[in-house]
């Protein structure tokens, strides 16, 4: 309906006046008061244009100046074609092998970032040691050679190959001989390649030596049984272990296997309160000695006598002929008689081992083990440990070195790690071709004409035979970081055979063929077998049934050969856990790792007993010179080491590397290594020690060594435990509990509806090997801080292993500083190792004191750090009764003052992307590997199931060769941790302050007869 009504705005419109009509055509009928606005006095229109130009000019120049600030260019390189198996943010795991230890490599976006033990391995069962954990850092070491070298200059592979091949051929034709020098070759395929090489050059011979030699064991087994092997020692079958200086838990042969087997006999339960007895005779205080039930100080020059006495004591008990010994044997108190007594009671279930490298001493040990029926039971000569020997002995090689035509050093550094290094260096001057395949410009490589750097094991294919019939595969987890080439390929190329001339050599195919011909068992199809074996990383052939060998040696014949002259001052040359022979001497984590016993980082030192120190007038912090007449080491720092045998002095080998490392660390003691009965001898008698001027502070992470009688470490004897499984662990806080059995406290109880995470640590299983320390640090991007900062007591380890001594005096153990300070002799000592990390307290003292709530309690019982919120008041660290919190005193990454792996782009590739790299000024601590918990929860959620117990493992738990750490959900009554917590040995450290830790420790039980220690004498 049309609206006809007209509305009008005013009388003008109604009248339609012409003026109105005219104006209504404009947009604004009344016009705008523009003039008024523009003419206001404060708007000076006359200079408007100039102002505009001024402002314009200022703005343009300001923008230009601002734009001049050069923003750093950061390259993000996306995958153009995403590899099928790589999902960003999701790790891939590949099985591999580190120096005879099966490992699993965790890679993220194509970068290996962490090694873990391979749980499928029948040898380690999933453990990995500190050196293995640290080895991933070496992959990204900027000191590694990026290219082949010719005469120290960078070169290229084509040229180097051509010249080396030509030189090898001329050496061959000159008839002077070619030698391949290497450490023990554990890879059968590598050996096959070397054999091919030897076939191509008939004058080529192989020289195999060990920086730390076990020749004595080979030779003794050859002498006694005609089998030149290193047997597999089966500690899992031994109820009595007697060790003469063999550090089998720390550094002696296949420590991971021994640790696993040994600890399997060391954990008594309520139902079955038995454990093995371990007696250790040694000079140094070794990790193994620290774990022994009885430990007797014994100098290495006394070892021959001690073993003869043991032989005689056993022979006496068994009614056999005793040895006619030249001197009266009175060593190590009544230790020998006691050992003989328990050994005789455990025939076929005992094991005597010796760390000596003297073939005659080892033969005597063999005779003792034979007498004890141990062969075939605790000693297995048939499924032997695979350290292969070579064709030519190293000493012969050094003698003839000057006349050789060519020498190839295959991944070894004999100029450094043999006592003949200097002689070798001199005689090699005349050799025309010297090649090293090592990946550092080390002491040996630097005298070579060519360096053809090998790849890191994480970049290579290989196959290792650890023990007879136990194989472990190595597969590359990253393309070579540098232009390096696998040494096996180099050997094949230098062998100059036809296939290679056509560039057809493929080491991967070579291994496949070798495996097909040699170890493939034919059960599955070959490809299926191969894929399965690669996936698992390990492949075991059936074991042989160990036989009792026939003996060719009479113990009485050995007497004359064994050194019975007891020297005055024995210098013991030992290796350290982690550092070993020093071949990975540029790895900062191996230096930052505290020695499991002395807790010293970043140095080697002369360990001596308090008694000797007093006699020599030496104090902690002094420097000494050590000399055996031929060799002198000057300015050696000293450590007064409890447990060190009087008259013995220990110094670690493997330190003092001078080339191929960032800094020279420690002193080189290899020149002291001598010869005895044809093999290297790792002790020197009659050294002179003299104090020299100067002072040196060793960087120690723990400087107070006793528990001061506190109820922190609980321990009891096996007999006490058998009587009362709650020994030392009875509830003494009864009066402080309410009707529900809970301690009275001020705080609101937390309600954990879902998970509640906890850790259980068995101090009977823990040997203190410290693999967990490195594993934790690499998993959690804990920075290396260096010697000076450790001296200032600022190491960053989230996980540490506390080591306490108790000093024996007149049958009692003293744990208080004021008592043992008066003692003149600290030889008789026992030690305990206690892993310590954030206890994730329910009533966490750190949480209440943080002013900004940077540390809070999670619904799953974790005590969490929010780094971004932390302002660094350090109150939480002060208020932590366990002192596990670590503060970022400096910026530890991209800082030239901390020139370790986090200071360069290459080194930073090892950083775990799941864990924040902390900035300066914030607090950090153990998170119970919260990133692993989250990833475990996510996996379970994706698969729509509950988390399985044992599925999530913390880094420390995963690497522990002894299985001493258990992580899990306390809210799950079926979980292993719930069972561990019900264990009668389980206790909370510092329970009386009622912070309610989520970590429990198991009382340490020692298999000793003596009255229990006074460690908890307060009760």
């Amino acid at each position: 309906m049309e609206n006809k009504t007209q509305y009008w705005k005013g009388i003008e419109e109604l009248n339609r006046e012409p003026e109105f009509v005219q104006l209504s055509k404009n947009e604004f009928a009344e016009g705008l008061p523009l003039d008024e606005v523009l003419n206001e006095s404060d708007l000076n229109l006359s200079s408007n244009r100039r102002d505009f130009l001024k402002f314009f000019g200022f703005s343009v120049s300001a923008v230009a100046l601002a734009a001049c600030n050069k923003a750093p260019v950061k390259n993000v390189i996306p995958y153009v074609v995403q590899p099928e198996e790589v999902v960003p943010g999701v790790p891939n795991y590949y099985a591999s092998t580190f120096k005879g230890t099966p490992v699993v490599v965790k890679t993220r976006e194509g970068r290996p970032i962490k090694l873990e033990g391979n749980t499928k391995s029948s040898i380690t069962g999933g453990g990995l040691d500190a050196a293995g954990q640290a080895s991933v850092v070496t992959l990204y070491d900027s000191k590694r050679l990026p290219l082949p070298l010719k005469k120290g200059e960078r070169s290229n592979w084509a040229l180097v190959d051509k010249e080396i091949t030509a030189a090898l051929q001329s050496a061959e034709s000159s008839g002077k001989g070619i030698r391949i020098v290497s450490g023990p070759v554990m890879g059968p395929v590598t050996q096959s390649i070397i054999n091919d090489f030897k076939a191509a050059y008939p004058s080529a011979r192989q020289v195999v030596y060990q920086g730390i030699s076990y020749d004595g064991i080979y030779q003794s087994n050859e002498m006694c049984f005609g089998k030149a092997v290193i047997p597999t020692y089966r500690f899992a079958n031994a109820e009595v272990v007697v060790s003469f200086g063999a550090d089998f838990l720390g550094t002696w042969l296949n420590t991971l296997q021994y640790t696993r087997d040994y600890t399997s006999k060391r954990v008594p339960t309520k139902e079955n309160p038995v454990m093995s007895r371990h007696i250790q005779f040694e000079g140094n205080m070794s990790l193994t000695g620290a774990n022994a039930d009885y430990r007797f100080p014994l100098r290495p020059s006394q070892e021959g006598q001690a073993l003869m006495s043991l032989y005689n004591a056993l022979a006496k008990q068994m009614g056999l002929t005793q040895l006619a010994t030249p001197t009266k044997l009175e060593v190590a108190g009544n230790g020998i008689e006691e050992s003989a007594k328990v050994l005789a009671g455990a025939k076929g279930k005992s094991l005597v081992v010796s760390g000596s490298n003297d073939p005659y001493i080892q033969s005597l040990v063999n005779q003792i083990n034979l007498m004890l029926d141990n062969y075939g039971k605790t000693i297995d000569l048939d499924n032997y440990y695979m350290l292969r020997g070579g064709d030519v002995s190293f000493s012969d090689f050094v003698k003839e070195a000057g006349s050789l035509g060519a020498v190839i050093f295959y991944n070894c550094n004999p100029v450094f790690d043999t006592p003949e290094g200097a002689a070798l260096k001199a005689s090699l001057e005349n050799v025309k071709l010297k090649v090293s395949t090592g990946y550092y410009q080390d002491e040996t490589a630097s005298i070579c004409d060519f360096v053809a750097p090998d790849v890191h094991f994480l970049e290579s294919w290989n196959l290792t035979e650890i023990s007879r019939g136990k194989y472990s595969f190595t597969q590359p987890t990253i393309a070579p970081v540098f232009e390096t080439r696998q040494a096996e390929t180099s050997f094949a190329i230098w062998s100059n055979n036809a296939a290679i001339a056509n560039n057809e050599f493929n080491y991967y195919e070579y291994i496949r063929n070798w495996a097909k011909n040699n170890i493939y068992d034919g059960v599955l199809g070959f490809d299926a077998w191969w894929n399965q074996s690669l996936h698992d990383g390990v492949f075991d052939k059936p074991e042989l049934t160990p036989q009792v060998p026939s003996n060719n040696v009479l113990a009485s014949d050995l007497v004359a050969k064994i050194n019975t002259k007891v020297g005055n001052n024995d210098l013991i040359l030992y290796t350290k856990v982690g550092m070993g022979d020093g071949s990975d001497g540029n790895n900062p984590w191996l230096h930052e790792l505290p020695d499991p016993v002395s807790k010293i980082t970043w140095d080697n030192y002369l360990a001596l007993s308090l008694h000797d120190a007093n006699e020599l007038g030496i104090e902690q912090g002094d420097l000494v010179s050590v000399s055996n007449g031929k060799t002198t080491l000057d300015k050696v720092p000293v450590l007064i080491q409890p447990g060190q045998a009087r008259g013995s002095f220990g110094i670690a080998l493997g330190y003092g590397r001078s080339m191929g490392v960032k800094d020279v660390i420690g002193l080189d003691a290899f020149p002291f290594v001598g010869k005895m009965n044809g093999t290297s001898s790792y002790y020197v008698s009659d050294v002179t020690i003299a104090k020299v001027d100067g002072h040196y502070e060793l960087a120690q992470t723990q400087t107070h060594h006793s528990i001061e009688g506190r109820d922190i470490v609980r321990e009891a004897t096996l007999a006490e435990f058998a009587k009362d499984s709650k020994v030392e662990n009875h509830d003494e806080l009864g009066r402080m509990r309410n009707e529900e059995g809970k301690l009275y406290n001020l705080w609101r109880e937390f309600d954990y509806k879902g998970h509640k995470w906890g850790l259980a640590i068995d101090m009977n299983a823990c040997t203190g090997c410290s693999a967990c320390v490195v594993a934790c640090s690499l998993e959690n991007n804990v920075p290396v801080v260096g010697r000076e900062e450790v001296r200032r007591r600022r190491e960053m380890h989230w996980m540490r292993i506390d080591r306490y001594y108790a000093f024996r005096q007149e049958g009692e153990y003293l744990t208080r500083e004021k008592d043992y300070d008066k003692m003149e002799d600290h030889q008789y000592v026992k030690a305990v190792h206690m892993p310590m990390m954030c206890q994730h307290c329910e009533n966490a003292p750190c949480e209440t004191v943080c002013p900004v709530l940077a540390t809070t309690h999670s619904t799953e019982g974790l005590n969490q750090m929010t780094y971004n919120r932390c302002i660094g008041t350090k109150y939480c660290a002060n208020n932590c009764p366990y002192k596990v919190r670590r503060f970022n005193w400096f910026r530890y990454n991209d800082n030239d003052d901390f020139n370790y792996y986090m200071n360069n782009d290459l080194g930073k590739m090892v950083i775990n992307p799941d864990v924040t790299v902390r900035t300066r000024g914030v607090m950090e601590k153990c998170s119970m590997c919260v990133q692993r918990i989250q990833s475990g929860k996510l996996n379970a959620k994706l698969e729509g199931r509950k988390i399985k117990d044992g599925e999530i493992k913390t880094a420390c738990q995963q690497t522990c060769p002894a299985g001493a750490i258990v992580f899990g959900d306390m809210n799950d009554p079926e979980s292993q941790i719930s069972k561990e917590f019900m264990n009668d040995r389980a206790y909370k450290v510092l329970e009386e302050i009622d912070v309610k830790p989520s970590v429990r420790y198991m009382t340490k039980i020692r298999n000793v007869e003596e009255k229990k220690s006074v460690s908890t004498a307060q009760h």
């Binding site: 723990q702 400087t703 107070h704 060594h705 006793s706 528990i707 001061e708 009688g709 506190r710 922190i712 900062e789 200032r792 007591r793 600022r794 190491e795 540490r800 506390d802 080591r803 306490y804 206690m834 310590m836 003292p845 209440t848 004191v849 943080c850 002013p851 900004v852 709530l853 919120r869 932390c870 302002i871 660094g872 008041t873 350090k874 109150y875 660290a877 002060n878 208020n879 009764p881 366990y882 002192k883 919190r885 670590r886 503060f887 970022n888 005193w889 400096f890 910026r891 900035t919 300066r920 000024g921 914030v922 607090m923 450290v989 510092l990 302050i993 912070v995 307060q1018």
Partner: protein, 465 residues
């Protein structure tokens, strides 16, 4: 019934008139600075420079420049903080509590004591600020400010947060009180000022004071109100500071006696510092007639009292450590006495417990040289008290594996010296530009303002209650 108190000394000697008071007190402000002033000021400014440098080192390189470590997380920083805060307490006590108690002898010392409070709190505040690992955000995040991060809030359970409130309240109230009390005097200087700049500045800061009865009436009321507000602060600030330790679980810190013990210690150290300053100031500024031996005597008695309280607290702590039967407590206290830091403990005992007992001797209480020496001793002793509490408790706590030693680095020592520089720089400027004695109040206690016309120098004043 009337009680006649013993004869008291005159509070102002020398037969000063009101005019003399103004002239004497304004003299240092109006003349040229003396050579001695320049010397002291220069040294102080150099120390202030050290402060700036060492704080820059700490902020730009890291807290690693200090000697603290994984076990001892607080050392010189918090020692100095507590020491400075404690020093401040004398000023508040004098100006607030003694005002409420109508102790007239306070009138000639309250101004400088309050100034000391302000400067000491400034010095103290440096330590909690710069002991933070992330000093660039810490001071802001420690405040309960509304923010855009959702429920991100401060932790009201934390004693450190209580500190934030305690110290900021203390500083602002003290500053207000000090400034308010100065307004009449600033007006006096304004009226005497000769140069335009001085005129302008003093006019600005006197806030239009004209000395009218209404001005005075309001002044008196506000003074009383502020005194009332400040009084609880004398007790609360150091109580809260003590809770930084008392609420923790560390043996040697976890002690309920801390609040009264800390307050007594604070007043003890505060009077120590007041004496240090005034013994010099009365000499240099020729104010012996205003800050008399009697004043010094009175302050020495406070030292004697609070020193004995502190001593009692030390002994009580020991007794309780033994009586508790807790081995960690027992060890902590034995370790103080006989551990590696025994020298710090015995310095503390000598300086704080034994030395104040000398003030039982009247002759020594009235000897300025001896008092000066003792005031320094008290300051040293109180510094060691905090060091002993903080470092010797931390360095050996529960797990012996973490026991360490601590020693300071040059940076830490530099910061401490630097705060002394800041303190004295401020004090020198104060003595140069502001009246160190409350002129208006002192005039009210001149002998002749009490109908006593006899201006003989040592005529005792008889007060009848």
């Amino acid at each position: 019934m009337s009680y006649e108190s013993p004869i008291r000394e005159l509070l102002v000697t020398g037969g000063k008139t009101a005019g003399d008071v103004t002239a004497d007190i304004c003299r240092p402000l109006e003349g040229k600075p003396t050579k001695l002033w320049w010397l002291g000021f220069t040294i102080s400014v150099i120390c202030l420079g050290i402060l700036v440098y060492t704080l820059a080192l700490t902020s730009f390189i890291g807290l690693g420049m200090w000697g603290i470590n994984k076990t001892v997380g607080w050392a010189w920083d918090i020692t100095n903080f507590v020491w400075w805060v404690g020093i401040g307490h004398a000023g508040t006590l004098i100006s607030a509590i003694l005002l409420l108690f109508r102790q007239k002898w306070r009138m000639s010392i309250n101004r400088s004591a309050e100034a000391m409070t302000i400067f000491a709190v400034m010095c103290a505040a440096i330590f909690p600020l710069f002991h933070m690992g992330r000093v660039w955000i810490g001071p802001v995040w420690a405040l309960p400010l509304p923010n855009a991060f959702g429920s991100l809030w401060v932790n009201f359970n934390s004693p450190l947060l209580w500190d934030v409130f305690a110290i900021s309240t203390y500083f602002s109230v003290s500053l207000l009180f000090w400034y308010l009390g100065m307004i009449p005097d600033i007006a006096t200087i304004r009226d005497r000022a000769s140069t335009p700049i001085r005129k302008f500045m003093y006019r600005f800061f006197s806030m239009g004071w004209n000395g009218s009865a209404r001005n005075w009436a309001r002044y008196e009321v506000v003074s009383l109100i502020l005194a009332g507000v400040s009084t609880p602060l004398v007790l609360s600030v150091h109580t809260i500071v003590s809770m930084d330790f008392a609420t923790s679980v560390i043996p040697g810190w976890h002690t309920t006696i801390f609040p009264p013990y800390f307050v007594a210690g604070a007043i003890f150290s505060g009077f120590g510092m007041v004496l240090t300053l005034l013994v010099i100031a009365r000499k240099v500024l020729k104010l012996e007639a205003y800050i008399t031996i009697g004043h010094l005597d009175a302050m020495c008695r406070v030292l004697l009292l609070t020193g004995s309280m502190v001593g009692l607290a030390y002994i009580t702590e020991f007794f309780i450590a033994w009586y508790s039967g807790v081995e960690y407590e027992r060890y902590a206290f034995l370790n103080r006495m006989a551990g590696p830091y025994w020298w710090a403990y015995w310095s503390m005992m000598t300086c704080n417990v034994i030395s104040p007992q000398l003030f039982w001797v009247k002759k020594w209480r009235r000897n300025p040289n001896f008092i000066f020496f003792m005031s320094i001793v008290v300051n040293i002793g109180m510094w060691f008290e905090r060091f002993v509490i903080i470092v010797t408790s931390l360095h050996r706590d529960y797990l012996p594996s973490s026991w360490v030693m601590y020693s300071p680095t040059p940076t830490e020592i530099g910061i401490f010296i630097g705060t002394l520089g800041l303190f004295f720089t401020c004090f020198f400027l104060f003595a140069r530009f502001l009246p160190v004695i409350n002129m208006s109040e002192v005039k009210s206690i001149l002998p002749h303002s009490h109908n006593n016309e006899a201006e003989s120098v040592h005529q005792p004043e008889v007060v009848t209650h």
